[in-house]
Amino acid sequence: MFGLDKKDTRLLILVAILVALAPFLLNPFPEGSAMAQFNAGYPDLMQRFVIFGIFAIGFNILFGLTGYLSFGHAAFLGVGSYAAIWMMKLLTMNVIPAIFVSVIVAGIFSLAVGWISLRRSGIYFSILTLAFAQMSYSLAYSVLTPITGGETGLQPKVNDPRVLDGALAEGATPKANLFGLEMGSSFEWSVGGWLFTFNAGYYLAAVVMLIAFYMSIRIFRSPFGMMLRAVKSNQQRLNYTGLNAKPYTLAAFVISGMYAGLAGGLMVAMDTQVGAERMFWTASGEVVLMSILGGVGTLIGPVLGAGAIKYMENILSKINKEILHQWFAFMPDGIEDILVSLVYPFIGKGWHLTLGIIFMLVVIFLPGGLVEGGQRVARLFKRKKPAEDGPDGKTTPAE
């Protein structure tokens, strides 16, 4: 289907089903129960899952296929976001032009950055991209304050021009919409103790993510993708055969920059605000973590990694001491206090610590990321068949 082989079609359909049913899958615990703390099925987090999924898929096209480790991808995300918010301020609150322009602008910017950075490879390339990203961040934070809003960022204001939109009703605030359908609008369905939220913005982002995912499969399976893998496995050998690798790597860099811009544009479409922190180097590092945690060079890995990190950032960080005491309330007082003080460093503000530990465990025991973990589990259940290799497009070095 769609020019994919059977295995890839199955993967795409599986992802589509997961994404469509996310409001159910992420809300397994009834409202008001003690476990409701772990529910992730609210619009903001679901949107973040798919948006950062797009970001990571794009990053993986560069890092997973060519092996070029960019440490400045957040800059493209930020540039895309700024482009999108300006579209909303100047043209219309409809998200289509915003998303479209964010991809274009991020593409142009990544062409410029890639043109310079790709003159070097390895660590020098990483440092160059990091330098560009930090430069963009500093510019956005202070020097370019008139266009970026500096520290306070940009938001649509009531008195922005918005030439394509009609005048706002008295007292109304500008809201991002898709031909009138507001991104923030949700349909809530409560069954028994459960409350499922179906959010318009989430489904828009989910559709875009599926398209992005499909395109990434096509790139992975194309001759172009094969060239990129060749770059990763041995660029010198490629050069000796008379091929110039630069156009291929630059194309991959620009494509992944456009993916980042798309993610940035979607972030603005879901939540109409941009701040310069979005371009900070830790944000660039985060997408590297997502890819590695999920599985570099695999199709679904980066999406899983993005989900895992965003889940921890949003769910673990909100557990506080009070909630721990409720959980362990059934224990005798002394033991309760000991348990709480044992768990406390890993939740709330300690979520970074938990993330770090999980990251270490994954890198040490599952070098292929969460995807490898899944494969190992799957292999346990069908031990009889010989393990198939390379279902995920992972490459093995040529030598």
């Binding site: 609210y42 520290e151 938001q155």
Partner: protein, 445 residues
């Protein structure tokens, strides 16, 4: 292979059952009846405390969280009642808010707008918070305030000093108790003129972001009105940790006052550098060289140590104030945590109480009703003397403290002494000077 028998009767039956199944639960959906976002229907109400728990302002954030926990305890009738006893409005009974027990959720802003908004949205969408409060930087405050306006909940700003929060970025659903850059400038200028004379030459070092700009502008305007001259204003990167290269040119410039428009770690480093360079022992234009820090906090004074001695600045509140409200707050905070509260803790505690009181007086959690109750609300007994919540921009107007680094501190908390309490008339300004649209309140839903 399973065999499917499609009969007309079978299809109709399944259709009817499925239809009923889908329709039944929606009858019980409470959301459709709600008049505003997250209307509390049970026996409790949830507030969202969104403070920086990691990042550069984690100290302030931790103190804010302590204050909020204390406020919740007092609202629910626990502890000694704190400021509820001295507060001029007596609507709060200590039985929660409108009889509903106060519960809270916490989040980490990381001092990043994106993270702060993500955390605030999860409080609104997932936990059903009806009010969001906290924060320790203006960027975050402006971002979260806009979010709350869109979502239809009240935002009670925490520590945010930039003019923008209630200036060009003000919102009908947002309220600020903390003072701002303009007030700092207006309060400091007369004290500076009295102590250092009216013919000084000032050199500004300004943190290169919005808060720095508004503070520099405020101090410049008010000191120049006193007759001072501004020799130069140099912007320093926010991430700078060594200011030596910025301090060296100060002496060549012929300036005799250095104004450090820095906050937090920036201020600690720049002040330390300036003192190490011996600026304060210099004699320029036959006058002693002086240093001024427009926004002071106890936590910063602690970081800079002995270097703050004798240096002027302004602050929103200080625990050594001797009015009934301040004493009551310091006592209940000290009893619970063992040390005096910072100004961040004070403003957050007061904001939580002001919100609860406004809900009681309005008789509803509806953001529009609460906004109406807070509008032009006059109160006293919260530690800052008589205070007005101005309706035009949702900014509190109250006395501003001018403080000075203490020469002989008696403890690690006793670092600042109050030089003067600048009366509110002197720091009041016209609401329209910063531009911006307040808009109208949004109850959401």
């Amino acid at each position: 292979m399973s065999k499917t028998n499609l009969t007309r009767r079978g299809v109709l039956k399944t259709g009817a059952v499925a239809g009923a199944g889908f329709a039944a639960p929606t009858i019980f959906t409470a959301q459709s009846a709600a008049a505003f976002t997250n209307e509390p229907t049970g026996s409790s109400v949830t507030l969202g405390f969104n403070v920086p728990q990691t990042g550069p302002y984690a100290d302030e954030g931790a103190d804010e969280l302590r204050a909020y926990e204390l406020a919740v305890e007092h609202l629910n009738g626990g502890g000694d009642g704190g400021l509820m006893n001295t507060f001029s409005s007596k609507a709060l009974q200590g039985n929660g808010i409108l009889g509903k027990k106060v519960e809270y959720v916490t989040g980490d802003t990381q001092t990043k707008s994106d993270a702060a908004r993500a955390s605030a949205r999860s409080m609104i969408e997932k936990d059903g918070a009806v009010m969001i409060t906290g924060g320790s930087s203006s960027g975050v405050a402006v971002a979260v305030q806009a979010l709350c306006q869109e979502a239809g909940v009240i935002f009670m700003a925490g520590l945010t000093h930039s003019n923008d929060t209630t200036g060009k970025d003000k919102k009908a659903n947002g309220f600020r108790h903390f003072f701002n850059s303009y007030m700092s400038g207006a309060a400091l200028a007369p004290i500076l003129a009295n102590n250092y004379g009216t013919d000084r030459k000032a050199y500004h070092l300004t943190a290169d972001y919005n808060w720095g700009y508004t503070t520099e502008e405020a101090v410049r305007t008010s000191t120049e009105a006193m007759g001072w001259e501004t020799v130069a204003a140099v912007k320093t990167p926010l991430t700078q940790t060594d200011f030596s290269s910025y301090i060296a040119p100060v002496l060549q410039s012929g300036a005799d006052v250095l104004v450090l428009n820095h906050y937090g770690g920036n201020m600690v480093n720049s002040l330390t550098n300036a003192v190490q360079f011996g600026l304060r022992d210099k004699l320029v234009n036959n006058k002693n060289f002086e240093i001024v820090v427009p926004l002071y906090s106890r936590l910063m004074a602690k970081g800079a140590g002995a270097n703050v001695k004798g240096i002027f600045g302004s602050t929103n509140w200080h625990w050594s104030l001797q009015d009934e409200g301040s004493k009551a707050f310091v006592k209940s905070f000290g009893t619970k945590y063992g040390f005096p509260p910072s100004q961040a803790a004070h403003t957050c505690y007061v904001q939580a109480l002001l919100y609860a009181d406004a809900v009681e007086r309005a008789g509803s959690f509806n953001p529009c009703a609460v906004g109406e109750a807070l509008k032009d609300f006059q109160f006293d007994g919260m530690g800052n003397g008589p205070t007005l919540y101005r309706g035009e921009d949702h900014q509190c107007f109250k006395d501003v403290l001018v403080v000075k680094g203490k020469e002989n501190p008696t403890s690690e908390f006793d670092l600042l002494e109050i030089v003067e309490v600048t009366p509110v008339e002197q720091v009041t300004y016209d609401a329209s000077i910063f531009g911006g649209e307040l808009g109208s309140c949004n109850p959401g839903a």
